[in-house]
C-alpha cells in the first residue's frame, strides 16, 4: 500500500515511517526546499549531519549516500535524485530570515501566515513529545548552497537548483520519525513564494548485496549493517 501527502509551501509536517519504505519527495514548484529531520525508533537517536558527511567524504547530500544517526546507524539511504546537490551545511530558517518580508500573522494573512522552519519543526517535534533540545542539523532537500574556493569557503545559495517535478527518493532503514518543513531556505534571495512538496510512502525492497548504498563505501555498508542488526 502506498500513500501521498502534499505539504503546502511554508508549512511543517511529521509522520512516523516504518523501516523498508521508500519516501519520495517531489518538488511542486521552483526552488522548493524541504528541511528534513530524522529520528530513530527511540526518538533520542537522530540524524547526525557531520557524521554523515565525514563518513562519506561529502559536503552535500546525494545518492547513494546513507543518512546516519548519532548512534552510528543508517536512518535512510538516498536511492535516487533528479538534482545532484542537497544542502546540509546551512541549517533551517529562523524567524529572522522572514523579517525582510514584513510582519505576518494569522489575523492578517490567514493560513498564508509566514512562519519559519524552526517554528514549524519545533511544533511538529512537540507533538511527539520532543522539543527544542532535539533539533539538529537538517538536510535541505532540493536546495544547493555553493561552496567558494576562497580562504573562508564562502557559502552562497544557488537559484534554480530544483523545479517542479524534481524528486528525491529515500529508503528508510529503521522505523523513523520524519519531520519536514517547506519554509524557504534561509539563504534564499527571492520573493516569499515557497513551493509545496509531495511526500509519497510505499513499500521498498531491502537493499541486497549489490545495493548501491551498500556498495558505495565501506562506511556506508557498516552503517546499514548496524541498522539491520536492530531489525534482526
Amino acid at each position: 500500500m502506498s500513500w501521498s501527502h502534499e505539504i503546502t509551501g511554508g508549512a511543517a509536517w511529521s509522520a512516523p515511517v516504518r523501516a523498508g519504505r521508500s519516501v519520495t519527495l517531489t518538488a511542486l514548484g521552483s526552488d522548493a526546499n524541504a528541511s528534513v529531520l530524522l529520528y530513530g525508533p527511540d526518538r533520542l537517536d537522530r540524524l547526525n549531519v557531520p557524521d554523515t558527511m565525514k563518513a562519506q567524504m561529502s559536503a552535500c547530500i546525494r545518492p547513494p549516500m546513507v543518512l546516519m544517526s548519532d548512534r552510528g546507524l543508517a536512518l535512510a539511504s538516498v536511492v535516487s535524485s533528479t538534482v545532484d546537490w542537497h544542502d546540509c551545511l546551512a541549517g533551517f530558517g529562523h524567524d529572522s530570515h522572514l523579517e525582510r518580508f514584513g510582519p505576518s500573522s494569522y489575523a492578517a494573512d490567514g493560513n498564508a501566515w509566514r512562519r519559519s522552519a524552526r517554528t514549524g519543526l519545533v511544533s511538529e517535534l512537540a507533538k511527539h513529545g520532543l522539543g527544542e533540545a532535539d533539533l539538529c542539523a537538517p538536510v535541505n532537500f532540493f536546495s544547493k548552497v555553493g561552496i567558494g574556493d576562497d580562504a573562508g569557503a564562502s557559502l552562497s545559495w544557488v537559484a534554480g537548483n530544483a523545479t517542479a517535478g524534481d524528486r528525491v527518493v529515500l529508503r528508510t532503514e529503521q522505523d523513523v520519525l520524519l519531520v519536514v518543513s517547506t519554509a524557504p531556505h534561509p539563504l534564499s534571495a527571492g520573493p516569499y513564494a515557497p513551493a509545496g512538496v509531495e511526500v509519497t510512502v510505499a513499500p521498498a525492497a531491502v537493499g541486497e548485496e549489490d545495493d548501491p548504498s551498500r556498495s558505495f563505501r565501506d562506511e556506508s555498508a557498516r552503517a546499514l549493517e548496524m541498522a539491520w542488526r536492530v531489525l534482526a
Partner: protein, 206 residues
C-alpha cells in the same frame, strides 16, 4: 592581548583524551593553547543559564557566510544568540562541520575493532553530566585546530592540521557560558597527527 586589569584565573593542562567543563562569565576570555601541535580540541558552548540554548555549528556557518571559523567568528546558539566571539587566533582556521568522534562513528569509519577505543562523545557526556548536559544537549561541535577542507564540487576531506606547537585560539564570552571540551583521543586519522597530546587552558575574567 592579555589585559593587565584581569588576573589569570585559569591555567590548567588538559591531557590527551581528557576533558573539561569551564564556566566563563560574560566578557571573560578563554584561551586554548595547542602545546604540541596538530591537536583537535572538540568544543561545545552553552548558555550557562539554559543548556538548551547551545552552540549551533550550522547556524554559525550560515550566518557568517563561510565554513571555517577564525578571528571575528561569532559563535551562535540554536536561538541565534551570540555565545562568544573568537577574538584571537594564531592558527588561522578551525573546523565546525566535522563533528566529534564517538565509539559508534568510529565503528562506521574504521570498523568494529575500534568500538572500545576512547572517543570524544564519552568525554562530553562525562564532563557535561554535572551541568545537565546529556545526549540530547550534544549538538554539532567546534574542532579547534582541525583542518577539514571542503571543495566547490561538494567534497570533504580530513587533512593534516594547520596548527603547530604553541598556536592558540581565544574566545571572549558574550554572556555567561559553559565551555565543554574534549581533547580528542582519535588515533585513526590525521586530526591529532596520529598522536593525541595535551593542551593548555588559560582564562582571564574578574
Amino acid at each position: 592581548m592579555t589585559s593587565t586589569l584581569q588576573a589569570t584565573v585559569l591555567d590548567t593542562v588538559v591531557e590527551a583524551g581528557d576533558g573539561a567543563l569551564i564556566r566563563v562569565p560574560a566578557a571573560g576570555r578563554l584561551r586554548i593553547v595547542d602545546l604540541w601541535g596538530n591537536q583537535a580540541v572538540d568544543t561545545l558552548l552553552y548558555d550557562a543559564d539554559d543548556v538548551d540554548n547551545r552552540y549551533s555549528a550550522f547556524d554559525t556557518v550560515r550566518e557568517q557566510g563561510g565554513v571555517f571559523l577564525t578571528s571575528g567568528s561569532r559563535l551562535l546558539s540554536n536561538r541565534l544568540d551570540e555565545l562568544a566571539v573568537i577574538t584571537g587566533d594564531t592558527c588561522g582556521r578551525h573546523d565546525t562541520i566535522g563533528g566529534a568522534c564517538s565509539q559508534e562513528s568510529n565503528v562506521i569509519r574504521y570498523g568494529e575493532h575500534t568500538r572500545h577505543q576512547h572517543a570524544c562523545r564519552e568525554t562530553f557526556l562525562r564532563y557535561g553530566a554535572p551541568a545537565g548536559i546529556g545526549q540530547r544537549q550534544l549538538g554539532h561541535n567546534i574542532n579547534f585546530f582541525m583542518n577539514v577542507p571542503v571543495t566547490a564540487e561538494g567534497g570533504l576531506v580530513f587533512a593534516d592540521g594547520l596548527s603547530a606547537p604553541g598556536k592558540h585560539v581565544e574566545l571572549t564570552a558574550s554572556r555567561d557560558i559553559l565551555v565543554l571540551i574534549s581533547n580528542c583521543p582519535q588515533l585513526n586519522n590525521p586530526c591529532n597527527g596520529w598522536d593525541p597530546t595535551a593542551v593548555q587552558l588559560l582564562g582571564w575574567w574578574d
